[in-house]
Amino acid sequence: MNKRIYLDYAATTPVDKRVLDAMQPYFYENFGNTMSLHEEGRKAKATLDSCRSNIAEFLGAKSEELVFTSGATESDNLALKGVAFANQNNGKHIITTKIEHAAILKTCEWLEKHGFEVSYLSVDQFGLIDLEELKNTIRKDTILVSIIYANNEIGTIQNMKEIGEICKNKEVYLHTDATQIFGKLPIDVNKLNIDLMTINAHKFYGPKGVGALYIRKGVSIEPVLHGGGHESGLRSTTVNVSGIVGFSEAVNIAKNEMKEDEIKQTKLRNYLIEEVLKISNSRLNGHPTRRLPNNANFSFSFIEGESLVLLLDDRGISCSTGSACSSPNLEPSHVLLSLGLKHDQAHGSLRVSIGKDTTKAEIDYFLNVLPDVVERLRKLSPLR
C-alpha cells in the first residue's frame, strides 16, 4: 500500500471537505468582528448566533448556554476554575477520577495549590467508576463533580445517566469532558442531568482551535479570560467565527451521518479486536462493549510501545501508545495503570482509533503488518 493508513482519529481527524467549504467565506468575504456595530460586524454576529443555536440544539441545550472557546483544554479549565472560584463560599471540595485527561488533572493539581481539595475516584479493570464510591465521596462542601464521559485512551464510556442522577439528588454540579464522544454518539444534557460539558470540533472532522463549554442556565461560574466581554463576559477575546462555522458544519454532518458511522465503525472495530487478539500474549484494554465505536487499545507483552509505533510508522501506519518512553515525563499512561495494568503492560500499549474514512482493506493491511512488527520486537527483547 502506498498511501498512509491513519489509525489515530482519537488524536485528531482530518477536516471534512464540506466543513472546509463552509468555512471558506469567513476568512476574506465575511471577516467581521462580532462586537462591531457596522454591517460586517452584524453579519459576523448573525453567523455566530445561528451556529451557536445549531450546536446547542444538537445537545438539547439553549443557545445562551453555550460558550465558545479555543478547544477542550480551555473548556476544561473554564469549567473547573470557573465553578471553583464562583462557589468557594459553599465549599472547596471537588471530585474527579484518576483517568481524566491532563487538562482536568493538571487543572485540579493547580486548584489544590490554591486551597481546594480534590478527591480522585478509582476505576475498575475496565475503566468504569464505582457509583457507590461516587455517592459516598460527595460531601456537604462538594461543589463540583467532573467525570470524563468517554476516555481518550481506552474509550470506556461511563454510566453518565446514573452519574447525573446522583449529582442531581446530591445537588452538586456535574461537569463532563465529552471531547471524545461528542459527534459520535447522541448526547442530551437534560436527560443526563449534565450541568457543564466540554466539547470541541477537531475530534469529529471540524477544525482545530475551536471548542465550547455547555453551561446550564443558573450555574454560577467565573470567567478565566477577562477582557472585552465577549461570550456574555465568560470568555473575552475576538470570536473565531470561521472556526465556529466549521464546528457548526461538523455538527450538521454528524446529525446526518453519526448513526451510520457508528454502526460501520463498531463492526470494523470489532473485527479488528478479534483479529489482533489472535496474536499471542496480547490483551484488550478498556471495556469489551461500553467503549467508543472507533477505539481499540491493546497491550503486547515483552515489547515497548514507542518502538511499536515507530516500526508501524515505517510501514505507513499511524497509531499511538501509552508507553512511558513516549511521554514527556517517562511515566507510563496513568489511565492504564489505574486499570491495574502492570508497568510493563502499560509500557507495551497500542491505541488504534479508526474514523469515517477507514476501510476494511486498511484494517486488513494493518492486521497483516502488526504480527510481523510485534514478532520483530519480541526477537530483540530479553523478556519472554
Partner: protein
C-alpha cells in the same frame, strides 16, 4: 525527535540476539522508564596476548533510543581490548549516534552500564581480581536495580 542515524540503528539493529555460552552477561534496567537491556560478551586474546571482546550481542526491551544505543555499543566495542572496553563511556555512544534527545540520554547510560555488568560478570566467573573501575560502577548499578525493583513492585501492588 530522533536523527537519521538513531532511526537507522533502530530499524536495522546490529548484533542482536544471544551468544550461546557467553563469557559474560550484563543485564540492567532503567529506573526512569523501565527499559531492560541484556548484553552478552565473548572474550579471547589477540596476537599480543591482550584480552579482547571477540563477540558481543544484545537483547533490549525499550524505545527506539534504547534499541539504537544497544546496537551501536556492540559496533563500538566489538574487537576492542578488554582494557579499552573498561574505560568505555556513554559519551562515545552519543557521539557515534550524532546526538540523542535530552530525555533519552539515559538510554546511552543504560547501554554503557550493561557493558560494565557483562565485564563484571566475566571477571566474577573467572574468579580473577575485579578492577576497581568496574566494581565502583557495579555498585552504583546494583543500587539502581534495587530501586527499580522496588518501583515495579509498588506499581504492581
Amino acid at each position: 525527535m530522533y536523527n537519521e542515524k538513531v532511526i537507522e540503528h533502530f530499524r536495522h539493529p546490529h548484533n542482536f540476539g544471544e551468544i550461546e555460552d557467553p563469557d559474560g552477561v550484563g543485564e540492567v534496567g532503567n529506573i526512569v522508564c523501565g527499559d531492560l537491556m541484556k548484553l552478552y560478551i565473548k572474550i579471547s586474546e589477540n596476537e599480543k596476548g591482550e584480552k579482547i571482546i571477540k563477540d558481543i550481542k544484545f537483547q533490549t526491551y525499550g524505545c527506539a533510543a534504547a534499541l539504537a544505543t544497544s546496537s551501536i555499543i556492540t559496533d563500538l566495542v566489538k574487537g576492542k581490548t578488554l582494557n579499552a572496553a573498561m574505560e568505555f563511556s556513554n559519551k562515545e555512544i552519543i557521539d557515534a549516534l550524532g546526538g540523542l534527545p535530552q530525555i533519552k540520554i539515559h538510554c546511552s547510560i543504560l547501554a554503557a552500564d550493561a557493558l560494565n555488568e557483562a565485564i563484571y560478570d566475566y571477571f566474577t566467573k573467572n574468579k580473577t581480581e575485579i578492577p576497581k573501575i568496574i566494581t565502583l560502577k557495579h555498585e552504583r548499578i546494583t543500587k539502581m536495580n534495587e530501586l527499580m525493583k522496588e518501583k515495579f513492585q509498588n506499581q504492581n501492588e
